[in-house]
Amino acid sequence: MSKLDAKIPEGPLAKKWTKYKASQKLVSPNNRKKLDIIVVGTGIAGAPAAASLAEMGYNVKVFCFQDSARRAHSVAAQGGINAARNNKNDGDSVYRLFYDMIKGGDYRAREANVYRAAEVSSAIIDQLTAQGVPFAREYGGTLANRTFGGVQVSRTNYAQGQTGQQVLLGGYSALKRQVALGKATMYSRRQMLDIVVIDGKARGIITRNLITGEIERHAAHCVVLATGGYGTIYYLSTLAVQSNASAAMQAYRKGAYFGNPSFIQIHPTCIPVLNEYQSKLTLMSESLRNDGRIWVPKVKGDKRNPNDIPDEERDYYLERRYPAFGNLVPRDVASRAAKERCDAGYGVGKTGLAVYLDFRDAVAKQGKKAIKGKYGNLFDMYEKITGDSPYETPMMIYPAGHYTMGGLWVDYNLQTTVPGLFAIGEANFSDHGANRLGASSLMQGAGDGYFIAPYTVSNYLADEITTKVPSTDLPEFEEAHNKVVERINKFLNINGTKTASSFHKRLGHIMWEHAGMKRNEEGLKKALEEIAALKKEFWSDLKIPGKADELNQELEKASRVADFIDLATLIVRDALNRKESCGAHFREESQSEGGEAVRIDKEYSYVAAWEYQGDDKEPKLHKEQLKFENVEVKVRSYK
C-alpha cells in the first residue's frame, strides 16, 4: 500500500480549493475551545497560522528557539511578496501566477497546491495591509508594485528592501494580540527535540528550555511545524546562523517522509565570501536586478577598475545568453551563469569568485534619488560590509545557499505522512518545485498560515472533538523524553577536541563542493563517503563545554549539527537518485551543448519522498507521480 496519496480534490483546477472549503469538515465554535494545537516556529508561516487558529477559538501553544517570535528569519526577506492582483493592468491573473510558478519550478511542483497558493495570494495583501503593514504606495495612495525574476508582469508588493520584516511583524502583532487575549501561549527560547506519536497520530512535542536546560513535554490534538528551511546545511548561507533542520529531521525520524531534499536554491546575488572566518553570507535582494546589470570583463584577469572598462569590453552575459529575460532570469539560471563565467576564469575581485552588478546606467538614467528610494537600505548594507558605495562602483556578487524547495512531504491538507502532523511554509516541499521564484516565499508561507492551514487543520480536528489531550505521563512521552536526555548526555560525554561549529564548517565545504550548484555522480558518491567519515569523527571527537542544565549554546549547536549531518546524507542520496537536471538541481551528466539544464520527464516527473528506515540505513524511496493537466510541459526557456 502506498501511503503517498496527495488527496487532491476532484474537479477542475480553478474549483478545487473552493470545492474543498465547501465540503470540508468543520468544528463548531463551542468545540474549538476544547482543542489544543501546537505550532512550532514563528516565521511568516508559523505566526500567522498560530494567530489565525487562535482567532478561530482553538487553544494554541507556540514555540520558537529565538528570544522573541519577531526574530524568525522571515524577517530578513527583502524584496517583496507576490500577489495576483493585476494592479498594473499588465495581464496578470491567478492562472498567470500559477503558470509562472510551475514553469519557474521546472515542472516539478504539484499543480493543485501551486494553484491554491496563487489563488489566496491577493487576500494576503489585504490582510497584511489591514494589520498596518506599510507597503509602498503610489502618490495616489494605491499599492505600488515591482517586477521580480522569471516573470513578465509587475506583481510584487514591497516595503523598501525590508518586506520580510514588515510582513513578519504583521503576523507577529496578530500573534501578540492572541497572547493578550489568552488564546495563544508563547514559549520562546525552546528548541523542539522530538515529536510524540501516540496510536499513529502526532500528539505532542519534547522541547528543551534553552535558558534552564529543562526538558519539557507538551501535548495537543495536533502539531503544526513551521520551522523553515535548511540552507544552513552549507554552513555559509544567507540564512540566520541558528536556522536549523532539527524539527524537520525529528519529524522524518518519526515517519514523516522527506520530499525532494536535494532541491536547494542557490541565490545569485549575495556578497561574496571575504575571509575564512566568515560565519554567514549576506543576500542582496533580487529586486536589484530590475535596475542593475550583471557583467564580467571580456578579457580574463582584467584587473582594471570596473569603471574604467568600456562597454565594448564588458560581457553582459545574462543579456547575451537570455535576451528575452536578460538580467531577470530565474535564480537558478542566474547562479549557474555566474559560476560558469567564474569557473572559466572571468570572475572578478580578490578571489575571482565574483561578478559585477552595476547600477551606472540606472543612476545615469533615473538619478541617484530614485535609485536610493528603491534600494537605499540595500546599498547602505552593502557599503557597511564591503566599504564600497554601489552608487559609485559596481557591486560584487556571487551565489550562496538560500532557500530549500525540498522539505517535509505534505498532501493537499499540508499534512505529512504522520496523521496530525502538518508542515507549512518553507518547512514543506510543496509549492516551488525545483526552483522558487522571487517574492513567492513570503507569499507561500503567509498563504499557508493565514488561509490554508486554518481550514485543513480544522478538517483534521473535526474528527478529534471527543478526544482528550493526552497526558504527558503516557509511556510515549516518557520514551521520547528519555531518548532526548540520552542524546544530550551522549553529546556531553564525548569529550573530544573539536567544536560543533568546526564540524558544521567542514560539512558545509563537502556539501558546497559536491552538492551545490553543480552535481555529478562521482562527486556525490565521494560526498557520501566524506559525510560518513565526518559523522564518525563528530560522534567521537566533539567537545562541548558546560552542562546540560544551563544555557549552553555549544550544546544547542551540537544537536543541530548532528541533524545536519544526517540530512546531508539524505540530500546527497536524493541528488544521486535524480539523474536529470531540473531547476536548482543541476546534474552535469544531463545538460545541453550550450550548458542548459536538461530535464528527463519520462523518468523523473515525480516527487521523491524518502522514508526513514533507521540511522545509517538507506531510506526508502516513494514516488508521487506529477500530473500536468493544465499546463503544457515544455523545455523551460528564458531566451
Binding site: S68, V75, R137, Q553
Partner: protein, 249 residues
Amino acid sequence: MKIKLNIWKQANPKAKGRFEKYELDGVDPEMSFLEMLDSLNEKLIKEGKDAVAFDHDCHEAICGCCSLYINGRPHGPGEEVATCQVHMRAFKDGETITVEPWRAKGFPVLKDLIVDRNAFDKIMSAGGFVSIDAGQAPDANSILVSKVDADKAFDAAACIGCGACVAACKNSSAMLFVAAKVSQLALLPQGKVEAKRRALNMVAKMDELGFGSCTNTGACEVECPKGIGIDFIAKLNREYLCASFGEAE
C-alpha cells in the same frame, strides 16, 4: 591584530557577575565583531574553558537579536549599526575592548551577555497591533494611504526590537520602542481606529515593567541601529496626551 577583551561573565540570572579578561591574537580587521567572538570561543573551548554566551542570529541587522554594549555604546562604534555590522577594522591593534550586556531593570541578564527582552513582547501584547482577524480585511486598495504617510510609517516600523534605545538611556526608558509602534499605526488609517487605546495601554505596560521615563537627551536616537528619530517620541506624547484627555473608548 592583537586585542584585549574585558567581557562580562555571569553564570545565571541569580549569580553575581564579573568582568573576565581575555587576549586574542591573529584578529583580522575584516572580521565582524561577532566572528571575533566566535574565534575567541573556539579558542576557549579548545583550552577547556567555558565559552562566552551572546545572542546573535541573522547577521544583517534585521532580526534584532544581537545586543552587545561595546566600549560604553550599545552596538559599539559606528552610526546606525547593529552589533553584527561592527567590524574589527573599527578598533586599533592592541586596544582593550569592554563588552557588556544591555543594562536595564526591564532586561535581566540570563547569562553572560544575554538578556531577557520578554518585556518588549509584553508591551506589544498590550496594544502593538490592529485588531483584525484573518479573513476580515477589506481590499487593500480601498484603504488609500498617502505616500508620505506610508513612508513615514515605514520609517517607524523599521524598528528591530533590539533594545539599544533602552540600553542607551540613563533612565532605561523604552519610549523610542513604544513610540515607533504607536506612531507607525497612528499614521495609517488602518491603525487610527484604536489609536487611543493603543497609546494608553502600551505606555501603561511600559511603566509597569520597570522602564523609566524619557530623559529627552536623545541618546536612544543616536544609538538606534535603524536611525529611528525622537520626533516619533513627540508623536507618542501627542497621541498619549490626546488619548488621556479624550473620551474613553
